[in-house]
Amino acid sequence: MAEVDKTQLAQFLLRMGDNTLILGHRVSEWCGHSPVLEEDIALANTALDLLGQTSLWLGYAAEVRGTGETADDVAFLRDAWDFRNLLLVELPNGDFGRTMMRQFLFDAFHSVLLGRLLQSSDQTVREIAEKASKEVAYHVERSADTVVGLGDGTEESHARMQAALDYLWPYVGEMFASDETDRALAAAGVAPDPANLRDDFDALIGKVLAEATLHIPDSDFAHKGGRTGAMHTEHLGHILCQMQWLQRVYPNANW
């Protein structure tokens, strides 16, 4: 099997950790504001899982980079152009329906990907995937149930869920847009080529969205630039303003 280049491995780990970091941040914004108490608890739980996964992915990324950084340094001291998350996860929460639709689309992708990472040739990747896949199995079950419940609920909830899907759909294609790094990692058996995950993803979401009586948009247009860092949305900078503020204003403080 091909040897993996450290820069490419680090790139992959940032893609994993930045997805969970940024989505965890977005989901945590709901704390205290959700439609019902049980949802407050469930959303906080999802955010906690994602942030726990972030520590593992970014901790390993720091180790691979070999610059003596910690997971916190990686999370709090990079600028937007160094982030490698999907554009999908940095989009604003919108209403509860859009938040849950975004969660479902990400969970579906995440669960398929983590399933493959259980066979990674890299032991640490495999160990993180083992822990994360158990949590994500629950996330996707819950977000799928909510998407079905609201899609096949009232006329209003159906319309809102369809609008959410229409808005988010152009951000789905990026999940599967592979590049040189992905091909190198696939050749080394570290991670699957994302392009090969699409069929499983389509099968999973097809079933759930049909049950939710929602219509998948016909367009296959995809916004890209998050996972390569070429062009994020305007939203990422605002997230970082909040997230990194204390670390930036008071550098080298111990918190």
């Binding site: 205290g32 504001h33 439609p35």
Partner: protein
């Protein structure tokens, strides 16, 4: 506990001669530390007072998510962010147990929510103060949860079974909350000059509002006397406040922070600290709705409830459709 100024019957404690046979039997059980359970007979005043008290506590947990939630997206490290998120999640969980305990007394969670949102029921005055710097998150854990625990520990022995059991669970989590708050304060107090300044600023702003959490002196209150006879209140407000001050002052000293009270000194004779009373005019202003954050806190809860209506309706409609389909298939 997060309940303040809870009114009971207002009639004072009845003597045995004034009690009906049912009331006397009830009081004997309470005196013998036998728990009252939902199906047991209980005086109407006991039931109503408990609903007010447990409901106010539940509302405080829910509104209490807001000042701390204010810092989740700005927490300075991944670990601090996770701890804070877990803590706020615990508070939502406490709200859930307490609403469930209140439901055993014949009131629904929706009714209690409506009473909160229309301002008919209150939540603790403390949550109407803002969290302005990161050390406030430490101070809330150390002082606010610390004050809450003072009240909650004795309430584990309260006479009403479901309330007592909820308190036992809640106390376990609250003492973890207090420790994490103190841990933040330690880091800040031992940190850079700016961090130390944040810690002192937080203590300055949270000291008196924390003392107010116990409520004004109630040694003469007929409401408190009745609640104590029913064992739904265990200590007077002044006793608890004294205990809180005596516990907290050495902790502040250890942190190298100054409690903002010039009159604070150890009184050998009484075996406790002398300290200044908080400004009770401010306290009553906050209860009336004029605290720094009352309007914003309540608006945030109203908005969450109103924005969530379509979600609750949607999920309910789906559950009904599903049930109907199941019936049709059978």
């Amino acid at each position: 506990m997060y309940a303040q100024m809870i009114k009971s019957t207002g009639e004072g404690v009845k003597s045995r001669d004034e009690m009906s046979p049912e009331e006397a039997a009830f009081q004997e059980k309470v005196d013998a530390d036998i728990k009252i359970e939902p199906r047991d007979w209980m005086p109407e005043g006991y039931r109503k007072t408990l609903i007010r008290q447990i409901g106010q506590h539940a509302h405080s947990e829910i509104v209490g998510q807001l000042p701390e939630g204010n810092w989740i997206t700005r927490a300075p490290t991944l670990e601090r962010k996770m701890i804070l998120l877990a803590k706020v999640q615990d508070e939502a969980g406490h709200g859930l147990y307490l609403y469930s305990a209140a439901e055993t007394l014949g009131v629904t969670r929706d009714e209690l929510t409506e009473a909160l949102l229309t301002g008919k029921m209150k939540y603790s005055s403390i949550f109407n103060y803002p969290t302005l710097n990161w050390a406030d998150i430490g101070a809330v854990g150390w002082l606010v949860d610390g004050a809450a625990i003072m009240n909650q520990v004795p309430l584990q022995r309260t006479s009403y079974g479901p309330y007592s059991r909820a308190m036992i669970r809640i106390c376990k989590e609250e003492s973890f909350h207090q420790r994490q708050g103190y841990d933040i304060m330690m880091k800040m107090a031992q940190g850079t000059p700016e961090q130390k300044k944040m810690a002192q600023d937080a203590l300055n702003r949270y000291w008196y509002p924390s003392l107010m959490m116990f409520g004004p002196s109630d040694a003469e209150s007929v409401h408190s006397a009745q609640s104590m006879a029913w064992k739904i209140k265990v200590n007077t407000n002044d006793e608890l406040r004294q205990k809180f001050v005596d516990q907290t002052v050495p902790q502040a000293e250890y942190l190298g922070l100054t409690v903002p009270d010039e009159n604070l000194k150890w009184n050998e004779e009484k075996g406790g600290h002398d300290f200044s009373e908080p400004d009770w005019t401010e306290f009553f202003d906050v209860l009336k709705g004029n605290g720094p954050c009352n309007t914003d806190r309540l608006n945030a809860r109203v908005k969450a409830w109103e924005d969530g209506e379509w979600v609750r309706d949607g999920l309910l409609a789906h559950a009904e459709k599903k049930a109907a389909r199941k019936v049709a298939a059978e």
